[in-house]
Amino acid sequence: MHITHSIASGMGGMRTAGDLVARMQMSRGMKIKEAKEYVASKLKVSVSDLADPVVMNEVREDLDIGRVNALPRVAKGIDAKFRIAELLGIEINCVNQFKDRIK
């Protein structure tokens, strides 16, 4: 069932920019249109590119914000989230806590 929803209407998660758009809904309460426009402007892509896995894989590679394939020397986990927080101009709770712990 989840796979069906993912194919029928989901943004694609880390294969695309789904996680980034979700972060704008969560941190700023943006509705989908506004959240997509915000992320697209930050990534300098069109709104329709946000759910395109080929375009977004390249964008994610260029920005080093985590890619769906496990490749060497690519940002993973909290490392990628540090960059995402900075890129989107938002606070990410676990990133802030990580920073506090290594002060």
Binding site: I7, S9, M11, M14, G18, D19, V21, N93, C94, Q97
Partner: protein, 348 residues
């Protein structure tokens, strides 16, 4: 005339004529409109739904560019439920890397705040580790589940035993007592998980035990939001209207019992909810067309009346998805497309 292959709300196949599907769509939207006192779907919307059901393709999807956020409530319990032996961390990685999750959620197998509170010391380190190695937003979630606070599972007298004895005021008093216990547990778990680094806290299947369940959750949200203003809080519902188990409870002067999604969201927003998830129950004795039209009608009114993102529940048995252990692709994909494109969702 060629028949349309579709299904009933229990997933069984039924072949209907075009006029029968059209009639079911009209009756489904009318049922929702009358119940919630909201506008029915427009002629244009009904025509789009009819085309969706006429389409012979097994799977359908939204137009490119109209994709929405796909969240995975109670994610870590689902692998274990189908007997796949993976850890919580592994299941989150599968959602992240293989299932296109835009947001993920970790939860205790006994998916309620009450049992979760006892094992926070086990849940927190796993959650903290997951936050270190995964990238999409990660919720911690559970159900308010007020039923767990009644005897023999909890300390309070059981309203379902008091009510048949005609002890109405006692039944109401015990529900008010249950609220206090539930609020304490939800705030406790929510606080610890937020302090562990959660991106958000999810209150799933809210109001399953009626208006007291809804009030407890609203109060917990209020407290958490005051304590942690940046916290993202998602509230997912359990049915299309708030069951009046108490019948007299209010929040911000509004009587809770009988509220439909477009009114529920107003209170959720006031309490501090960031993302709201309406739920519309599927009727097994009606067709998927009837159920989808009905679910979209409730949901669309909710979206139009909301200032916060709406992620509708479209799991098994809700949102027009058939009540069956194996929801078919043809029905689920039609619900997905209809809910997003006609219901104008922000996510599901």
């Amino acid at each position: 005339m060629q028949k349309i292959y579709t299904r009933m709300g229990d997933g069984s196949v039924v072949e209907l004529s075009e006029s029968e599907v059209r009639q079911d769509l009209e009756e489904g939207t009318k049922d929702a409109a009358e119940r919630a006192k909201i506008p029915p779907l427009s002629e244009d919307d009904l025509q789009r739904l009819l085309e969706l059901y006429k389409c012979p393709d097994k799977s359908v999807g939204v137009e490119k560019g109209k994709e929405v956020i796909l969240s995975y409530d109670s994610g870590t319990t689902k692998f274990n439920r189908v007997n796949v032996s993976v850890s919580k961390l592994q299941s989150l990685q599968i959602y992240e890397r293989m299932l296109g999750a835009d947001t993920m959620e970790m939860g205790h197998m006994d998916y309620s705040y009450k049992p979760a509170k006892n094992i926070m010391w086990i849940e927190q380190p796993v959650f903290e580790q997951a936050l270190l190695v995964t990238i999409p937003p990660l919720f911690y979630g559970a159900m308010p589940n007020l039923g767990l606070y009644t005897q023999p599972d909890g300390p309070c007298l059981n309203p379902m035993e008091l009510l048949p004895q005609g002890k109405i005021s006692e039944a109401r008093a015990t529900q008010e007592e249950m609220i206090e216990h539930a609020v304490r547990d939800m705030v406790y778990v929510g606080s610890l998980m937020y302090e562990s680094g959660a991106d958000g806290i999810n209150f799933d299947t809210t109001a399953a035990a009626g208006d007291a369940d809804f009030l407890a959750t609203l109060r917990a949200v209020e407290i958490l939001k005051k304590k942690y203003p940046q916290m993202c809080i998602e509230m997912g519902m359990s049915g299309e209207f708030i069951l009046g188990m108490h019948g007299e409870l209010t929040y911000d002067g509004v009587k809770l019992a009988g509220l439909y999604p477009h009114k529920q969201v107003e209170l959720a927003e006031k309490a501090g909810v960031t993302i709201f998830g309406p739920a519309v129950n599927t009727n097994t004795n009606e067709s998927c067309a009837w159920n989808t039209a009905r679910a979209v009608t409730f949901t669309k009114a909710c979206v139009e009346n909301s200032n916060i993102p709406i992620h509708a529940n479209v799991g098994m048995g809700v949102g027009g998805v058939p009540v069956t252990e194996t929801p078919p692709v043809d029905s689920v994909s039609r619900v997905s497309k209809a809910m997003v494109e006609i219901g104008r969702l922000d996510g599901l």
